[in-house]
Amino acid sequence: MTDVFWLIPFAPALSSVVLVLFGSKLSKKWVSLQACGAVFLSFVFALVAFLGSLKISPDNFPIVKTLFPWIGAGSFQAGFSFQFDPLSAVMVLVVTGVGFLIHLYSVGYMAHDTGYTRYFAYLNLFTFAMLILVLASNMVLMFVGWEGVGLCSYLLIGFWFEKPSAAAAGKKAFIVNRIGDMGFILGLLFIFVAIGSSEFSAINKAIGQGLFPQALATLIAILLFVGATGKSAQVPLYVWLPDAMEGPTPVSALIHAATMVTAGVYMVARLNLLFTFSGTAADIVALVGALTAVFAATMALTQNDIKRVLAYSTISQLGYMFIGCGVGAYAAGVFHLYTHAFFKSLLFLSAGSVIHALSGQQDMRKMGGLRKYLPRTFPPFLIGAIAISGIPFLSGFFSKDAILTEAFAQGRYFVWALGLAGAVMTAFYMFRLIFLTFYGEERIEPEAKHHLHESPKVMTVPLAILAVFSIIAGYIGLPAVLGEKADLFKRFLEPVIKPPAEGHIGAGTEWLLMLVSVAVAAVGISVAYLFYLKNPRIPHALVARLPWLYKLLYNKYFVDEIYGAVIVNPLVKGSDWVYGHFDLKVIDGALDGSAAAAGFFGKALSVLQTGFVKDYALVFLLGAVIFIGVLLF
């Protein structure tokens, strides 16, 4: 049954091709049916493969299926081959499951857009690329998916390309990703040259046999992680993700929350042996993750755009996943990836529902009191917020807690502290969002209020489903303190991910840590309540007291401006200068100069060329005389 797994990616691919080629001739209804159906088909295949894999003994993983040899040149060989193991299974289920719901939601959200067909073509293509990414059995093919999702991200961010900001955001996303990709390619090359293959199984085997020197492994791991920071929006390459909110909201939910941005985490988890073997690289992963988690959270505190808050929150949450990977709790990292996919896409989709209701308004200062107008949107939104804030018994609590506990258990107290700090802020900004949007006075613009309406069923039903999963998804990965076998998720992943070296902490400590987490979340929520419901003057007072801090946070630490001034501008200006002064003046100048010199000598010699036949004849005669003279003597 698992053998069907290689079929998973092709339904969306086919659908996408059909939409691109014949989309203009298809009716809207058929388009939606086909696009959603294709993803659903993939989901069914994924489910079948997953259920089948439950019965397979751990030693038989991964199951590899080579479709055809792809690139072959000398020792550089890469097949078009897929592999299936528990990690792929989780990813595939998330991608197709959440993906399907978002496709469904899009049917409502994009209903009145002129680019409806184009949108679904892109979305299907994205699903295909993402599935290639998670199913690829070698890094070269993985890179196909890796870049493919990047392309779709570019296309979908710039979906409304008439808007200059959207077009620019798409381009920025692609280029920043490419910087990361350079690291990925180099890492790939290092691996390939070292072991002559890029198959994951070969890499793992090589690590087992000690074919990699420690330093090389670290170098490779860091290079690959550079790729991950690009794709998963970590410091310092996170700048594209907030801008990516220019795309349609379902896109933000699918690509920039649930799936694509987690590709980096998936890659690190996939190569967990390499990172663990290196050690140093894992430390760097954890550190970067922790820094990102806090850094992004601080930026989320002051944003007024509802989607941007969620974007920074995504960056921050991705940071948590990397903390998990970095401290060796890969399973926890992937677990958070999995729960995050539900609650963050839920948040995005409900935000989308809000925006939809307000005719495109995204500024929270122009919302407020929406609770009563959007009865079917508000509860899911709230559930998502609670889940992400780490309130017990919802999915986010289990996964985030697993990560932080492991960080503590491994003795990474600094990382743990940063994670905790991030958690406070997470709770704070999420509830700031809730209070500003759904509670308090109405600040809705009259025009928008006139059209205010709850979203159609096709949008709210996916919300409901996602809300349910946001609640229950965590119960397959209960904390270890509840029993050896409580963490089903971890055990399921064991064929791929070796559990970390035992850094044991007692049950008491673990309970205590949990308590701290909960307390921290509660503090965040209460402060938000205090600031934005109880006494809305406090934030203003704070801003007045610490204007520089507010400015710094509100302007996102001026990172974009700094990148622009330090990297982009010098590059463009410098190139311009070189073009004007070197290419045109020096190289071309030398060329034109030599042409001019030749011309000058020609002119000088042309004095001899009088144009009179007789003069030529005279010289000719002289030549004849001399020639015969030479012949004679």
Binding site: K614, L618, A624, V625, L632
Partner: protein, 165 residues
């Protein structure tokens, strides 16, 4: 007898060329040249090439020079053109011409002796030349005819008055 004829023709040829040089009128120059070419035809006869002699007189002295005179009449420069004024060019040209003359004479003197001419003066009949032309030299012969046609057409095209001229 032959030697007398030779000197007669030679003197006439050189004299008429000198006359062509001296005369200021182009028409006279051309007529002098006709005379020179006719003398050359006679010399060819002395060399035992009667066919060539006839060809020389008909084509050169006849056809070509008529063409020249024709053109001279068309152009009609009236007074004609005075001799060269750039003295040093003339001096240099004459000087070098004479040197060339000296060089070649010197070269001929140094050359091995050539058998006397005139023993078998009647030996070459036009028949044999004709045979050669149509056997060994068939292709050059045909190509020459193409050349002449091309020249004919070319001359017509060149001189033809175009619209607007």
């Amino acid at each position: 007898m032959a030697i007398l004829l030779f000197f007669l023709f030679a003197a006439l040829a050189v004299g008429s060329v000198l006359g062509m040089i001296i005369s200021r009128n182009q028409a006279y120059s051309a007529l002098f040249l006709v005379l020179a070419f006719a003398c050359l035809g006679g010399l060819y006869g002395l060399l035992g090439a009667p066919f060539m002699a006839v060809v020389q007189i008909i084509i050169y002295a006849g056809a070509i020079m008529v063409l020249f005179i024709f053109v001279i009449m068309m152009i009609n420069l009236g007074e004609g053109i005075s001799p060269e004024k750039k003295k040093w060019t003339i001096a240099a040209a004459v000087f070098m011409g004479l040197i060339l003359l000296a060089e070649i004479v010197f070269a001929i003197k140094g050359a091995p002796a050539v058998p006397m001419i005139g023993q078998e003066m009647a030996g070459t009949s036009p028949i044999e030349i004709g045979r050669l032309l149509f056997t060994k030299y068939l292709y050059p012969f045909e190509i020459t005819s193409i050349l002449i046609i091309a020249a004919l057409v070319g001359a017509v095209v060149l001189v033809k008055k175009r619209d607007g001229e």
